[in-house]
Assembly symmetry: C2
Homo-oligomer: 210 residues x 2
DNA sequence: TAATAATTAACATGCTTATGCGGTTGCAAA
DNA sequence: TTTGCAACCGCATAAGCATGTTAATTATTA
């Protein structure tokens, strides 16, 4: 029996969901609330398996409720419900430890399926939401942004700078004179529009050159 | 009519999928191949809407095939098929531009649904795969790792170092003497176990102190 | 062929950093 | 009330860095 706690401000939807879930074998709504005011106490006393949490609620919204729960409980599975696959909310919810993110228009049969999936450790997501997550993910992992047309040798020098090497050490590592190292670094500074070692290192991280 | 190109080395599964898709209204398998050897040419000549790509194939595997396609075409939707929700492959596929990632044991009805979803811009994912993506995502966005017990003032100095400030500029910015800046920085180096400005900056990025 | 860029190298000058030492003040915990 | 710590300040020295100028060689490209 999967024990569900429900947070949804719309009375019709709240009733509808409760009936749906309670009317299905293996599911049980322990309680349903119209806001997150006492969410921490409620979670602690009911100890549900899954929490269904509407994003858009008056007072304490779903994201805040999510954060409150996660501050005291990392185990309970939390399924976020929303009308729109809104970018900022998705990001914030995922970041705050939501286990799934589904649209309210999801058909009832699927909804039960999703509850089951989240309970067993999966992360059910409406495909459009998943697309956004992937987009954010690939953006963050975009390999090597603008390398500012650094030459191979210059990139090599920059890499060593990032690793904390001094000019002398770089010269030794690359088998070139220290003055050559200077030449390379001067060129790197021009290309990166910086004028110190630490600025170059910072830019290397920011622009994902290394 | 959604035009599908299929890559799957197992003959039974390849035939099964082809029959399933061709037997459904609105779907059409243009061709099905047992490997990715000529994937670029095939994609360019058939111009499919969706490509279903098995991960585990002899010769050129699915990930390599995916990369080859993405090198010449960013628009076609690519749905990865796999037996296991294997961590490394998921990561690599997502990073390389896959639009969805589903398990082979997905029931036929759902499979068609997924093809439709990916075609309209969604990112269908088996819940267990999505859970892994979320895990990676939250890990990357873990806010502020170990701050190495830097004091508030030390963190402030480090932040300015990261912004490329010299000692003199930091002194000006913080209304303290340059010798005080030195004191702070010396302490920072001790706590971060480094001994140069650029190393400190690099560590600040790596450990997400800033 | 001429021009451009990358790589290598040298020399000089002044500024910046790293590191050593020393110190005062104020606050909070033991 | 002593002890510890953060935050503040000073001086001195050696090493490291930034910047200027100059120039040879090689490779690529227009």
């Amino acid at each position: 029996m999967i024990k569900v706690l429900l947070y949804e401000d719309n009375p019709q939807l709240r009733e509808g969901l409760t009936m749906l879930i309670n009317g299905s074998d293996g599911f049980e709504v322990m309680a349903a609330y119209k806001n997150c005011t006492n969410v921490v106490e409620e979670v602690q006393s009911f100890k549900p398996d899954v929490i269904m949490m509407d994003i858009d609620m008056p007072g304490v919204n779903g994201i805040e409720g999510l954060k409150k729960i996660r501050a005291v409980n990392d185990d309970v599975k939390i399924l976020m419900l929303t009308v729109f696959d809104d970018n900022a909310n998705v990001f914030e919810a995922i970041r705050s430890g939501a286990n799934g993110y589904i649209l309210k228009k999801t058909p009832p049969a699927k909804l039960l399926e999703y509850i089951q999936e989240v309970q067993t450790g999966g992360a059910p997501m409406t495909a459009s939401v998943a697309a956004q997550v992937l987009k954010m993910f690939t953006k963050q992992n975009a390999l090597k942004g603008d390398d500012h047309d650094l030459s191979d040798r210059e990139k090599q020098v920059l890499q060593l700078l990032v690793n904390g090497y001094s000019y002398k050490m770089i010269a030794g590592e690359m088998f070139i004179a220290i003055d050559t190292v200077r030449s390379h670094i001067k060129k790197i500074y021009e290309k990166l529009h910086v004028n110190s070692k630490s600025e170059a290192v910072a830019k290397a991280f920011k622009d994902r050159i290394v």
